[in-house]
Symmetry: C2
Subunit: 382 residues, 2 copies
């Protein structure tokens, strides 16, 4: 069976779906791995390094699509902001982030008609079994780390407390809104750098996790009984809920030098949690990093992929921070996708068992039909 790595063509996408050390693992299992020339450039892997572990490097990206049984991609279909559809071959399989909430039905129908099998890794269940394949978790963790590094680079203050002969400098205050994977990693990184950290999440259950990282949990006396969905994501709440939340957060935002927001509901616009009025309460020079920018942002002035000066506050709206640490991101993505692939392998070829929870959850098209049960479920629930 031939596994293809065509490389990424989205502007600014530096990651690659498979790196040589992980490719070696697939080669050793008897798979043929075809890599387009330059696929690893953005993450500092050369063609020679792929060839050295037994991959075949092809000069022609189109040939990778033509000749592969399974194509591995970081971003395809709905995960491509440019709307391009790659030349998937009839009867082939694609594994990657495929933007299941954004992809057009007509596109899926056309691919199904050509008997293309699509696995959207964003739809993996949040179960222990799927954890080793969970690209959203891997990438969110990198985003949380990098959000804090970006903030530390931009903040006119030091993060750690300094006790010097010239007096004591207080540590920076960081407020993290949304304590999912990204938020928890942001908390951990800000703590590492010596900041004082507080965090808020709509799910009171994460309080303990926040506190175990050395951060304070901002308590809001709100109705949050059903805040967590079965999938482990925060559920979208009604507008009245968000209004009360905003009021209670104003103080916490005003007291922070840095705010990191990461409250997103899959497939839905991000809720606006940090308003312009809250930013007005921040000191000059403060920094916001909005990790929900791709979904419109948690912060009113956020513009995706731009840095906005709102008064004296700098608001970063990065949509792809993992691509700024492409070496680590590609390593993790490759491990995730290889674990997924290995889960499906039987005697050297892919075995698509729709009774398997992982297959069932991620399969967008198969056997001539469009199916995406969780994609629909999430949209209905929201």
């Amino acid at each position: 069976m031939k596994i293809g790595v065509p490389g990424e063509t989205v502007v600014g996408e530096t990651r690659v779906a498979l790196v040589p050390p992980v490719a070696r693992r697939l080669v050793e299992r008897g798979l043929d791995v075809l890599v387009a020339t330059g696929a690893g450039t953005g993450s500092d892997w050369s063609d020679d390094e792929y060839a050295a572990v037994g991959c075949t490097v092809l000069d022609d990206r189109a040939a990778v699509f033509e000749r592969s049984d399974v194509v591995l991609q970081v971003r395809g279909l709905g995960a491509r902001p440019d709307g391009e559809v790659d030349p998937y071959r009839e009867g082939g399989t694609v594994v990657g982030m495929l933007g299941p909430y954004a992809v057009e039905d007509a596109t899926l129908e056309a691919l199904a008609a050509r008997r293309v099998t699509l696995f959207a890794l964003e739809l993996l269940p949040r179960t222990g079994r799927a954890q080793s394949m969970d690209v959203l978790t891997s990438m969110a963790s990198l985003g949380g780390y990098k959000a804090v590094v970006v903030a530390a680079d931009a903040l006119p203050k030091l993060f750690p407390m300094q006790m010097t002969a010239a007096g004591t400098i207080q540590p920076a205050s960081v407020f993290v809104v949304g304590a999912g994977v990204a938020g928890l990693q942001a908390i951990a990184t800000a703590r590492r750098l010596g900041a004082r950290v507080r965090a808020y999440d709509v799910r009171p259950a994460v309080k303990e996790e926040v506190e175990s990282l050395g951060a304070g949990f901002v308590e809001l006396d709100l109705e949050t009984a059903e805040a967590a969905t079965g999938g482990g994501y925060a559920r979208e709440q009604d507008p009245e809920f968000y209004r009360e939340q905003r009021e209670a957060m104003t103080d916490a935002v005003g007291a922070a030098d840095v705010v990191v927001t990461s409250a997103a509901v899959p497939g839905r616009p991000a809720p606006t949690l940090v308003t312009e009025a809250m930013l007005d309460g921040m000191a000059a020079g403060s920094v916001v990093v909005d990790l929900a920018a791709a979904g419109g942002g948690n912060c009113e002035p956020t513009r995706p992929d731009e840095t906005v000066e709102y008064g004296d506050v700098t608001v970063f709206g990065p949509t792809n921070l993992p691509a700024t640490v492409p070496r680590t991101a590609s390593q993790l993505f490759a491990n995730n996708v290889a674990n997924f692939l290995e889960h499906l392998l039987r005697d050297g070829s892919l075995h698509v068992d729709i009774d398997d929870e992982i297959v069932d959850a991620t399969l967008l098209t198969h056997d001539g039909t469009v199916r995406a049960p969780n994609r629909r479920d999430e949209a209905d629930a929201a």
Copy 2:
């Protein structure tokens, strides 16, 4: 007595010599503080905040020079890369970083003739008594911190080790060359962020300090008996010494993801310690931050205030990293300069006692004559 804060006019200089909380201290001692409008803008202090603690804000920067007995500056004379000489008034006093090694003799003579008293804070002795005034130490510490933040932002890898369901990611390796104040802070910051850190310094005495921060000390079997000068700075060594050092460092550089260099001898060009051949041994995507860039750099490809791509290695040559954390930098600078001023105050006016070690070391011109004993000493010793 009137203390003047004219603000900084060097391009990119965001610091200010006095911040409102420290100005308050001087006002409470009965001093008049005159501040030029906008002096605090770069470090996010408004005119209103100066006025609120009892400073007089003047619209005209020239008026601050005209009316002040003592002018406080972050950078004057030789510390100004633009060569500008501010309009110091006859018989007045200036306290700040005045670039004692770079300032022209003719400039000093002209100012002495006008009976200007100049205190260059770079020349403070490295004694316990002067520690609370030591701007070089304060600023070097910020530079070391920020060097690591800049490196973390640029590195395509994570700093901390990650143990995830998708496998273990090794921590980044950081090599710090020169374990003075900046180097030690770089070590501490890189350790905070979870990197594996090694360091080298020509002075074997700092080994213990390096190790106490959790870093490994790179041992070089070289003649280093006289590596430390009486002033506590590294002494300039002969070319043969540097050649051997370079050879022994090649492995350490090659094994690092990030190299931070900070080997500088006051008033002399920085020694070239990291050669292009060493950078050739680094992995693609590696990062160098050269804190000695202002003195020409410790790294061959360094260009001051530029970011150079040398092959696949990014070389940063920042000359003023403290100005990128202006809030903290101004706070520390203001504390230092106020401590210096208070050391000289007797009954509300400056008492210039040249038998005082601190006065003696820092006084460039006084009473119509040019004097700068340590400036000459350092130049002779090197």
